[in-house]
């Protein structure tokens, strides 16, 4: 059977992809610009025998995810920057208790109430600051609607495999854009859920918790978690190289929507004879530092482009470690950088490199 090709809005495609990945439970709270996800879920879940439940707050939504995750089902929520910030505490509990859930953050402009325009202002929040304590979680950063669709099944699989939450970050552009998408035809993978608290007694009983009052005991628990995080860093780094086969002297580093705009700019730059490539992190955490390290020597200069004041640039700098110049171009407040701006910026940048 030929796979169906559908024209869908990013948010709705993400929701449908989650359902097809075996997610039958969605808890959420309205916030712009991602309301189409809960709206779609509220229509669709009853049709597939699943559940959509509107929580009283993002704080409650993430704790409903915790409860459902502890029951062993595939469960998700979606929100946007300030709403996601409210989920931080529960997210940390979910990591501490080793539960597999998926959180989608369609980022908006901040700080504070900010605005509802597309932004990448939560890169640092999602990769470094999402929740208290020693912890990590895989952060996927799709650049197109199709990639977001493909990533939903991956997100649930990674969550189940590591028993750790997975985050997918997008922005209002990916959320609102309509693109043709093909849904993967594969059936959801099955995972052992014998650890779930579904009703046991005696030595079989299951306790979902993150409390370890003895410091040495907590240290052992955190070290155990970090063996998982180490495995994620070793096995789950994902990236894309674009127009990089000829070892271009300038490498743009960008992810998500910004990477997509950069690709268009690069085609124009190549026509002008400027050799520029793109390094696109697909996992914002673990940051694809192995792949980036491999091109440091071949590159003369790195240019990070983000829809914020410079957040991923710290991860790039940590890999480059001063061996090459790393500069930055960004727009913030929900302003999306244009192709023309990027072309101009790279031409200027190229001029500074000399012969």
């Amino acid at each position: 059977m030929a796979q169906e090709r559908l024209l869908m809005k990013g948010t709705e495609a993400i929701a449908e992809a989650a359902i097809r990945a075996g997610c039958n439970f969605f808890f959420g709270y309205p916030i712009t610009p991602q309301n189409e996800i809960p709206e779609y879920m509220s229509r669709r879940m009853p049709q597939v025998g699943g559940l959509y439940l509107q929580a009283e707050s993002e704080v409650s939504a993430i704790n409903m995810l915790y409860g459902a995750g502890g029951s062993g089902v595939r469960v998700m929520t979606s929100s946007s920057s300030p709403g996601v910030a409210l989920m931080s505490e529960g997210f940390s509990y979910i990591i501490g208790s080793e539960l597999p859930v998926v959180v989608v953050n369609i980022m908006r402009g901040g700080p504070g109430l900010g605005d509802i325009a597309p932004s990448q202002g939560d890169y640092a929040q999602m990769t470094k600051g999402f929740g208290h304590g020693d912890k990590h979680a895989i952060v996927l950063a799709p650049s197109t609607v199709q990639e977001a669709v493909d990533m939903m099944a991956l997100a649930f699989d990674l969550a189940d495999e590591y028993r750790n939450p997975v985050v997918l970050i997008g922005d209002g552009l990916i959320g609102q854009m309509m693109e043709p998408v093909v849904f993967p035809a594969t059936a959801p993978k099955q995972f052992d859920k014998s650890w779930a608290a579904t009703g046991h007694k005696g030595k079989d009983r299951k306790i979902i918790h993150s409390l370890y009052l003895e410091p040495e005991e907590l240290e052992r628990h955190v070290l155990k978690l970090f063996r998982k995080f180490d495995a994620m860093e070793a096995k789950e780094q994902r990236h894309e190289m674009f127009m990089a086969d000829d070892d271009p002297p300038i490498m743009i580093c960008a992810y998500g929507t910004t990477a997509r705009i950069a690709k268009t700019a690069m085609r124009e730059l190549r026509k002008k004879g400027i050799k520029v490539g793109l390094f696109r992190p697909i996992t914002a955490w673990p940051f694809p530092n192995v792949a980036l390290e491999a091109i440091v020597d071949k590159t003369r200069s790195f240019l990070c482009i983000e829809m914020n004041m410079g957040q991923m640039i710290d991860d790039v700098r940590m890999v480059v470690r001063g061996r090459r110049p790393v500069s930055f171009y960004g727009r913030t407040g929900g302003v999306v950088p244009t192709v023309e701006e990027i072309v101009k910026k790279v031409i200027e940048h190229n001029a500074t490199l000399g012969a």
Binding site: S60, Y66, G67, A68, G70, S97, A197, T198, H200, I207
Partner: protein
């Protein structure tokens, strides 16, 4: 000589771990009552508890069945996630103190009750934050001294104590709301009946049992005087009562009768 008979023993639903609670604290009684009911109903492998943040944070060490631990105040949201995903025949209860439930967790408890989540909430009200060292709670009585109301609770500064049963009883969905006390044998026997009723009604809707409890350490009283203090001071403010049973609904809730539905004739989008 008559053969020796066991007439009192540890319920099967309790582990052999000793309670860490202070002498005179009534958590142990509440735990035991729940465990006895689990035994009597034969649901040890069908029940999952939600432990709170507070002195009973380690409740899962004492009950011999599955548990999920919740963040401070969030137990009703966690229980919602469980209720909506676990098989329908499972029993789910939260066990929460007054700071947890009536302060930081006010939104979660009200909305879980309003949705009619099929869970049982056991609400331990001792008018104080026990684990953090005796600070003022939303249920601290007017004039009552705590470490953060050293001159006595000033109602002009921080309002009056919140009565949770009465508050929740304004909602349509709850099936059972009652307040009992753990201060003496006759009340404990009654409290067990209330808990049993709540668990038996759980699959019909939201059930809530408040238990007036002591905190000798936080109150600075002996265990015995704590029981007397509870009866003398807490009971007048928090009357022992069944507020809601199947078939009953107060006027305040009736105004929004369950079958009242607007005819949504807005244009189809």
């Amino acid at each position: 000589m008559a053969e020796e008979q066991v007439i009192f023993k540890r319920p099967a639903a309790l582990t052999e771990k000793y309670f860490h609670y202070c002498p005179g604290c009534t958590h142990g009684i509440a735990h035991r009552l729940i465990a006895e009911i689990v035994d009597e109903m034969g649901i040890q492998e069908k029940i999952v508890g939600v432990s709170p943040v507070g002195c009973s944070v380690l409740a899962y060490n004492y009950f011999d069945f599955d548990f999920q631990e919740a963040a401070h105040g969030r137990a009703p949201a966690v229980a919602t996630g469980m209720r909506r995903t676990l098989p329908e025949d499972r029993y789910i209860f939260t066990y929460q103190g007054d700071g947890d439930l009536a302060s930081i967790g006010m939104a979660e408890i009200v909305h879980a009750a309003n949705r009619g989540e099929k869970i049982t909430v056991v609400f331990i009200n001792n008018a104080i934050y026990g684990m953090t060292g005796g600070q003022m709670a939303p249920t601290t009585l007017p004039g009552m001294r705590t470490t953060t109301s050293p001159y006595g609770r000033d109602t002009t500064l921080c309002g009056h104590p919140i009565r949770m049963c009465e508050l929740l009883n304004t909602l349509v969905e709850p099936r059972f709301i009652a307040r009992g006390s753990l201060s003496q044998a006759k009340h404990i026997i009654k409290a067990k009946k209330l808990l049993r009723q709540a668990f038996e009604l759980q699959h019909e809707g939201f059930t809530f049992v408040e238990l007036l409890s002591t905190c000798p350490t936080g109150w600075g009283l002996t265990p015995e005087n704590s029981l007397l203090w509870l009866e003398r001071n807490m009971m007048p403010f928090f009357p022992l009562q069944v507020f809601r049973e199947p078939g009953t609904m107060p006027e305040t809730a009736k105004k929004y009768a369950p079958d009242l539905k607007v005819k949504d004739d807005k244009k189809e989008s």
